[in-house]
Assembly symmetry: C2
Homo-oligomer: 171 residues x 2
């Protein structure tokens, strides 16, 4: 099944499958992108993270993969803005991560005909249901049916959507 | 040279070296973490990005590597919060990226003795000086000298620092 803008109304929630992160993958990513002791060395326990843990940017990358596989957007979905990105708990080797998405806002693009914008909250949780990452994003994706878009435009219903939380009103 | 909290007063600016991103690296990252046509396929030009471009999360990861190599913090530096993360222009194969850092705020941690917090703006620019990524971050890092910390605490001068832009007052 391939989806489009119309499949993500406000309030829709999606839960991804899960992906386990290995110590090997963690260290490989850290060597390349975030070479710090607490991401590289299993013996590095004398730090704020209390032991080997994943780079936050790796958690973000894995979460993106889970998001893409879950959303299944025909033609792809592009992030315009990320806010409130937090890593409230460390990701350890062997942790199994999943992503929970909630659609917060949805409107048609005024400048890019054939596209819609969604604002959503993304939570990444581990196998103990602990949140290891959270953010709010604005993303753009294709509409399925440009005739329904024309109808919606003629109603003008989506133009009044305001952007809370400081996200830009991408048009 | 290895640095600590004291080396990053408000107003300090740092510029990283540059790193070139290859088409191969771009596609490899996308296959694993962001498998969408505009990150995978050199022929994918019919999209909002106008051709093959890097996943924003790869730009973030490369920027982290440039940041770590530039900051050179003894004991490491850990991101607590990222806000206003944007990718205003696409990153193409062969682009050469560098990171510019500006320290916006600095204070000692009240709860983690021996650590300080800095808020900084991070800009990633390409070889044409075009900004391809920007964000504001709050990060924690060790102090070099705990006696100067004691002195600062006794003055109480840093306690009044407020957190603008919605960043949490991590303590």
């Amino acid at each position: 099944m391939r989806r489009a803008y119309e499949d993500f109304p406000v309030g829709r929630r999606l839960v991804s499958g899960s992906q386990t992160i290995s110590e090997e993958e963690m260290i490989e990513f850290a060597r390349r992108y975030d070479p710090q002791p607490f991401h590289l060395d299993t013996r590095a326990t004398e730090n704020l993270l209390g032991g080997l843990s994943a780079s936050g940017w790796q958690t973000a990358a894995i979460s993106m993969r889970l998001f893409i596989d879950t959303m299944q957007v025909e033609g792809g979905i592009i992030g315009r803005a990320i806010d409130e990105l937090r890593w409230p708990a460390p990701v350890r080797p062997g942790d199994s991560l999943r992503v929970e998405i909630e659609i917060l806002e949805a409107r048609l693009s005024q400048s890019k005909r054939g596209y819609g914008l969604i604002r959503y909250r993304s939570l990444t949780k581990n196998q103990d249901d602990k949140v290891v990452q959270s953010f709010v994003a604005l993303a753009i994706l294709p509409v399925a049916d440009s005739s329904s878009e024309a109808e919606e435009h003629s109603r003008g219903g989506k133009d009044s959507l305001t952007s809370r939380r400081g996200l830009p009103r991408a048009t």
